[in-house]
Subunit: 213 residues, 2 copies
Amino acid sequence: MAVRIDLNLSLDGIAMPAHQTPENPMGEHWGRLVAAYIATRTFRERVLHDTTGEGTTGVDDRYAAAYFDGVGAEIMGAGMFGLHAFPDDPDWRGWWGDEPPFRAPVLVLTHRERPPIDFANGTRFEFLAASPQAALARAQELAGGADVRIGGGASVARDFLAAGLVDRLHVAIAPIVLGRGTGLWDDLGELERDYAVTSEVAESGVIHVTFAR
Amino acid sequence: MAVRIDLNLSLDGIAMPAHQTPENPMGEHWGRLVAAYIATRTFRERVLHDTTGEGTTGVDDRYAAAYFDGVGAEIMGAGMFGLHAFPDDPDWRGWWGDEPPFRAPVLVLTHRERPPIDFANGTRFEFLAASPQAALARAQELAGGADVRIGGGASVARDFLAAGLVDRLHVAIAPIVLGRGTGLWDDLGELERDYAVTSEVAESGVIHVTFAR
């Protein structure tokens, strides 16, 4: 029943680049931040529904597979679901098409009331306004003993980390400097005091750092 | 004749922690930032003049040895030399005692005029007000064909990086979050475009990242 976070960061700690627009909702440099992740076989299979077996199978793929493994419910911010980019579209169903990769309940933190959305593959988006503690309690009910992931974005992840609610934080640091965007580490000084920290470098050059209780 | 920078950073990109005082000139968390470096055999020999042969001899020590190898002149900021902490002491000779580890000319960037200081081991501190380009030209004259190191602090390193004057940047990232202090990466967005970036993790958990032209 661990509470987990996985994020892609730049060397300067940015999880979401600046310059988000509806046309380019993740920011202009997002592709560079996640290049090694989206090149993995797991991402291609699980998110892009690519059944060719292509994609990398090294260290990055090991983390990508772990990302999807054992998660019974997820919590994400309104921005990650897309409500900031498409606030006036009542039919918005997220970025992920008809088969979102979650296959589990996803709690979207928002003050806008919206009806739940169910997908055939088990993904269910529920919308609620709640504190980190209250949202986590609800997610743990839904997870039925499996792990809960805090999906992001950066500010939501930071809220849960600052509240001491997270058992494992994995950051995949791309060897790039973004300069502007939403950082993860702000206000998390001395985070390492509550964790054992380990690191390894993938074939791609991405640095995987794990904080584990 | 490469121009090199070596810095210790936290995961959040801080090279110099906040809360500097005369009693604790490097900031209260500086020891945690450099713990793996000062544990190396090279640091103990070269900086502490410890001839017992103690200290670590792994990946961190390999970088520590390279730090001192082949440098013919160094450039550092007034803060790194200590002029900010001891501005009114005309006899201040730096933090390093009677045998500073540089053993070469060191240009200290400051608008205060001070006479040069010579040490028996070949270290010579010269004080000058100059642009990065002009300081580098002077250091390259003094280096006699060997490398020039930009010693720091973070803002001086950033100035030289932003001016495109640096051939190799090595950062030793300690797996800690400092939260507040002087960061390296500000205004260096897309720095990686001019370099090949490689990384490795030391036995200590420190992540060594090298930008090389």
